[in-house]
């Protein structure tokens, strides 16, 4: 499997570390309630198809959000978590830490 790093271009999967589902970026507000926090911390989908997850490109130290298809191993898109987080902050200013 090869993953396109937004910094480095197409690289071998051995250069990456898997972190987990991309929902980690969408942190609930501190007062969102037990159910929201339980879901955020513990509940994950296991889709047969398109999924979004977080990978770390070890050599260049970039966190990357990867959209990929679990049925075909095709990578649909990648972008820096820095950019995804900025977009989330813009969409939900009340969730600012």
């Amino acid at each position: 499997m090869r993953i396109p790093c937004p910094c480095c271009g197409s690289r071998d999967r051995r250069e990456f570390t898997y972190y987990g589902a991309a929902v980690f970026l969408d942190r609930p507000a501190p007062d969102a309630g037990l159910e929201a926090w339980d879901g955020y911390l513990h509940l994950r989908d296991n889709p047969a198809g398109v999924t979004r997850d977080l990978w770390y490109h070890d050599p260049c130290a970039a966190w990357i959000e990867v959209e990929r298809d679990t049925l075909t191993h095709r990578i649909l898109s990648t972008h820096l978590v820095e950019d995804a987080a900025a977009a989330l902050r813009a969409a939900r200013p009340e969730a600012q830490p």
Binding site: C7, G9, R11, E15, P59, A61, A62
Partner: protein, 179 residues
């Protein structure tokens, strides 16, 4: 206070095996340059004739070089950092932190290909560019100075492992050529 003498890892290394040669390399002063968020370091680098390199790029001028070395990180090589740089970037002296070797020869690519998942074809890794990648389990910085010439840097504490991995791969490639 003990009088400690600085030593250079792999000093004097110059080993030819088959059609590849591994030699020690002294890049001079190496400083990592990490621009503070939102700051532009180009004006501070201008006295050296340099600017901050885009990913994969090496810029050279007046004997100094600056090589991209990771996300929002570059290595200034062979020059003292200009004073103005300290105001716009985090600077760390890496001269003793990394060990550098030069791998050259007709089989240099074949040797490296045994150790790194990086695509070494010149169409993917062009002469004059730089890549962050891994050499087996070691984090590495590789500058391609020529089609068959690579400057390779890893953390200085791994100098012995780098030497072992590279010479072992050189031996295997040479043995393969004799079949």
């Amino acid at each position: 206070m003990a009088d400690l003498k600085p030593t250079v890892p792999l000093a004097g290394l110059n080993e030819a095996i088959g059609r590849a040669r591994l030699a020690a390399l002294d890049p001079g002063r190496v400083t990592s340059v990490a621009p503070w968020p939102g700051r532009n370091v180009d004006a501070a680098l201008a006295p050296l004739g340099l600017h901050f390199p885009p990913p994969g790029t090496v810029i050279a001028a007046q004997g100094a070089r600056i090589a991209w070395a990771g996300r929002q990180l570059a290595f200034l090589i062979g020059a003292e950092p200009p004073a103005a740089l300290a105001g716009v970037a985090a600077l760390t002296d890496q001269s003793d932190g990394w060990v550098w070797v030069h791998l050259s020869g007709a089989d240099a690519s074949a040797v490296l290909a045994r150790l790194t998942p990086l695509d070494l074809r010149p169409s993917a890794f062009a002469v004059g560019t730089v890549a962050r990648t891994v050499i087996n389990h070691m984090q590495a910085l590789i500058l391609r100075g020529a089609e068959d010439g690579f400057e390779i840097a890893v953390f200085a504490s791994m100098a012995g492992t780098l030497h072992h991995e590279l010479t072992e791969a050189m031996r295997l490639v040479a043995a393969r050529a004799r079949i």
